[in-house]
C-alpha cells in the first residue's frame, strides 16, 4: 500500500468525526476533531490497527494584548491550547487535532484504551495545564515536587520562574 492509500484508509476510519482535513506534508494528514469526539476517534484508530500512537504534542496559541506603547504581549488568560495525537503507520503519520480554550482545558483521558498514552498525557497535563478526565495518575512526572501550582512552563505566557526572594 502506498502512502496516499494508507493516509486515505486512515482518514476513512475516523471520517464521521472529522471537521476539517489538511495535508501538511506528503506523508501526513491532519484531521481536526471536536474534543468530545476525540476518544471515540482514538478508539477507532486503535481498533483498526492502522498504526500506533507515536506521541501527543501540545501547542499553545495565546491571544495577544497590545498596550499603550504598541508593544505586543501575551495575554495569560485568553487563548487556545491544541493537542495533536500523532499516529504512525509505516511512513504515514495521521494526526488528530483538538483545540481547547484556556477556560475549558479538559479532555477525556485515553489511558483506558491505550496504556502507552499515560506518560504522554501526564507530560501534557504538567507542561500545558490540560486536565485529562479519568487519568489514572496526576502526580508530578517531570516537574519538581515543589513546582508552583497553576504554572505551566510550555505556555507562551511563561517566561521563567520568579527568583525566590
Amino acid at each position: 500500500m502506498d502512502i496516499d492509500q494508507k493516509l486515505q484508509a486512515g482518514a476513512e476510519i475516523v471520517k464521521e468525526w472529522v471537521i476539517s482535513t489538511s495535508n501538511p506534508e506528503v506523508n501526513r494528514v491532519d484531521l481536526v476533531v471536536a474534543p468530545e469526539n476525540l476518544k471515540k476517534a482514538v478508539a477507532a484508530m486503535l481498533d483498526s490497527q492502522w498504526g500506533y500512537l507515536s506521541a501527543i504534542t501540545g501547542l499553545d496559541h495565546p491571544e495577544y494584548l497590545t498596550d499603550e506603547t504598541g508593544v505586543k504581549k501575551v495575554d495569560p488568560d485568553r487563548g487556545n491550547l491544541e493537542l495533536l495525537y500523532h499516529f504512525s503507520g509505516g511512513a504515514a503519520v495521521l494526526t488528530l487535532r483538538v483545540t481547547l480554550p484556556y477556560s475549558e482545558a479538559v479532555i477525556d483521558s485515553i489511558c483506558d484504551i491505550d496504556m502507552a498514552a499515560q506518560l504522554y498525557e501526564r507530560e501534557a497535563a504538567e507542561l500545558f495545564g490540560i486536565e485529562f478526565r479519568g487519568a489514572p495518575s496526576t502526580d508530578h512526572l517531570v516537574l519538581p515536587d515543589d513546582w508552583p501550582v497553576g504554572v505551566y512552563p510550555l505556555r507562551k505566557a511563561f517566561t521563567g520562574l520568579k527568583k525566590e526572594s
Binding site: 516537574l143 519538581p144 515536587d145 515543589d146 513546582w147 512552563p153 511563561f158 521563567g160 520562574l161
Partner: protein
C-alpha cells in the same frame, strides 16, 4: 595525645586517602555524555581501579564526589543531601562544561545553575564531554593538592 603523634596519624590518613580515594558519582541533570565517559574510566582501556580509585555506591563511604551536569530544581536537594552525607574531609570534582556554567542548558526554566552554585567545588574539568584522560587528570590534580 601529644602533637607529634597527631601529626603522624594525619600523615598516615592523607597517605591512605591519596593512594585510594573512593569516589561517588552523581548526575544532577546532565545529558549522560559525561557520565558514560566517567564510566569509561573504570573500564579496561583506562582502568583507574589499578590506581586505587574505586567507584562507590554509598555517599557515606566516599571521599570524592564527581558531579556532572547543570543542577535541576528536582536534583538540587538530592545533590546537597548526597554531599552532606559524605564524611569529612570531602572533595568535589565537577565534570563537564555544564557543571562549570550550565553549558548549553543556560536559561532553561528547570535549571538552577552550575554545581558551584549549590555545593563547594574543588576541581573543575572542562569539556563537552571531557575525555576520560581529562577526568583522570582532574582527580590526580585533586590528589596532588591533598599531598601538600
Amino acid at each position: 595525645m601529644t602533637t607529634p603523634m597527631v601529626g603522624v596519624i594525619e600523615k598516615v590518613k592523607t597517605w591512605a586517602r591519596v593512594n585510594s580515594p573512593w569516589v561517588i558519582h552523581f548526575n544532577s541533570g546532565s545529558c549522560n555524555g559525561c557520565d558514560i565517559e566517567i564510566l569509561a574510566t573504570l573500564t579496561p582501556r583506562y582502568d583507574v581501579e589499578r590506581f586505587g580509585i574505586k567507584l562507590q555506591g554509598s555517599p557515606r563511604h566516599a571521599d570524592v564526589l564527581i558531579c556532572t551536569g547543570p543542577v535541576t530544581l528536582q536534583a538540587r536537594d538530592r545533590l546537597v543531601r548526597v554531599y552532606e552525607q559524605m564524611p569529612e574531609p570531602k572533595f568535589v570534582v565537577a565534570v563537564g562544561s555544564c557543571g562549570i556554567s550550565s553549558g548549553v542548558f543556560q536559561g532553561c526554566y528547570n535549571v538552577v545553575g552550575n554545581i558551584g552554585d549549590v555545593i563547594p567545588v574543588n576541581v573543575y574539568v572542562p569539556g563537552c564531554p571531557p575525555r576520560p584522560e581529562a577526568i583522570i587528570y582532574g582527580v590526580v590534580q585533586l590528589l596532588k593538592s591533598l599531598q601538600n
